[in-house]
Amino acid sequence: MVLLGWLKKRWLQVLVHAGVWLTLARTLWQYWQGMFLVDPVREITTRTGRTALILLVLSLACTPINTVVGFKQVLRVRRALGVYAFLYASLHFLTFVGLDYGFDLSLIGQVISEQRYVIAGFAAGVILLLLTITSTKGWQKRLGKNWKRLHRLVYLAGILVVVHFVWLSKDWREAARYGAVVAVLLALRLPWVRTALTRGRHRVAMVISGRMRHLISPR
């Protein structure tokens, strides 16, 4: 019973943590089983990159989800999603530098000068690193008001990751779909959009509760 009560409160957190680690385990298992038959390096690179982007998008979705439907639980997984996005971004980076380019610095130097998407992706990674380091309660206290300002950089990271994806794609349709989602998630944060949404939500709640009253109380 205690466990059930605990689960009821924290099911979303459990889902997020389990989901992320199981995804990683699945990827490692598939690699070990030799399922990445043809081009394992590319497969690992795109998988870790795509997962990092999805986690970042989910993290960016938490605040608007609460604004639109008033589901407070999402705010409890926002930080974890962001930190996991950084974890996957680091794996992605290590795959690129180590597996793909064998830590060959001259080769990496040439690639950076010819592939601007590397710079966009790296900048996003640096932002995520900074935000992961300062994601603790201690740093939150230490930075005070500036903490929130600093963590708004995640919006820039979201944009940079989409730019990275569009620039590296031969067919940019998938990247554009992620771009559209990120654009909506950022637009929902504009103050006037946010106020309108909150007002709308209250109005809907009032209408619903009004109807309920009407249904419950006999005339």
Partner: protein, 327 residues
């Protein structure tokens, strides 16, 4: 800027060993074509989502005492890419943009009957069916395939020089370019339902490029008829250019006076030009072409000028350092 190292020039005896004439190839390919048709028919739509079972390649009849093909290599000593990899990793956007997904989605593709209409500025326009194409003496050519996405394979193609087919239709003097077209059939090629690209796929060569002996029309690989994912039943292979030039499942070949606009030129004119010859020193506008990952190997290898075929084709491009030839 572009210069040819002496090490890039292939001695003739090595060059000659690249090809093996297979006199009985026509019959062999025709036979496996029939087999392939049976195979796709019996698979049905509910096939499990597994990697394509790749039956072991049919042995090529060895001619003039050359070593057997299996475990073979190209004239530079690079190992052949395994049959399973060649047939499970395909860029064929008419089926899907997922390279690993093409093999399964293309299983039911109908390659028989098939006609290739050859016309335009020619004396003798002619429509070829598959038997006509297999009537040309089939050769094996081991070529490197370098994708514009910076990966590559080494593939033993079966086919014949495009020049032989062009000579048969007798191009007239105004003919300057050759324009190729893939089948347009959105029912069979679902990618064509999207108007994101201007279907059908179109590619082109300048007439002298098309007449170069390295340019072939391929009907098979690893001694077997082409599978749908590789561009069955007939495709172009121009090994010194990026892979997208090697158009698949051709239904139309026209001799024309004006430079054709390819699908990729129309989709992104600043990124893809007409010539698209491989050059490690001319990057794609968004990524490097300096190195490539050979499928089956982990370490990156250096990309070669004209994909290693400089000796055979560099004379086609004057002045040699114009960017026009390399994107």
């Amino acid at each position: 800027m572009v210069k040819i190292d002496p090490s890039e020039i292939t001695p003739e005896h090595v060059y000659m060993s690249r090809r093996r004439f297979i006199k009985s190839m026509g019959a062999l390919v025709a036979g496996s074509l029939a087999l392939a048709a049976c195979g796709t028919g019996s698979q049905g739509a509910g096939a499990p989502p597994t990697v394509q079972p790749a039956s072991s390649p049919v042995a090529i009849p060895s001619v003039s005492g050359l070593p057997p093909l299996i475990g073979g290599s190209d004239e530079r000593g690079a190992k052949l890419t395994p049959f399973e990899a060649v047939t499970n990793y395909n860029n064929y956007y008419e089926f899907t943009t997922r390279k690993e997904g093409v093999a399964k989605l293309s299983q039911g593709f109908k390659t028989s009957p098939w006609k290739v209409e050859v016309g335009g500025l020619v004396q003798k326009p002619k429509t070829f069916d598959i038997d006509d194409l297999l009537g040309f003496e089939q050769e094996e050519r081991i070529y490197r395939l370098r994708c514009v996405e910076a990966w590559s394979m080494v593939i033993p193609w079966v086919g014949f020089p495009l020049a032989k087919l062009l000579k048969e239709v007798e191009p007239v003097s105004q003919a300057k370019y050759v324009r190729f077209e893939t089948l347009y059939d959105p029912e069979q090629l679902p990618g064509q339902k999207s108007s994101f690209y201007q279907w059908p796929y179109v590619e082109g060569l300048r007439l002298d490029e098309a007449m170069n002996d390295l340019a072939i029309l391929a009907t098979g690989l690893y001694g077997k008829a082409l599978l749908p994912q590789s561009g069955a039943p007939v495709r172009l292979v121009v090994p010194w250019k990026y892979g997208f030039k090697s158009i698949k499942s051709i239904v139309k070949i026209d001799l024309v006076e004006e430079m054709p606009v390819s699908l990729w030129m129309a989709a992104a004119p600043s990124e893809y030009g007409f010539y698209a010859s491989v050059n490690p020193e001319v990057p794609h506008p968004r990524w490097s072409q300096g190195t490539e990952r050979r499928i089956g190997e982990t370490q990156r290898i250096k990309t070669l000028l004209f994909n290693g075929y400089a000796e055979e084709v560099s004379n086609l491009y004057q002045p040699p350092d114009s960017r026009e030839w390399y994107y």
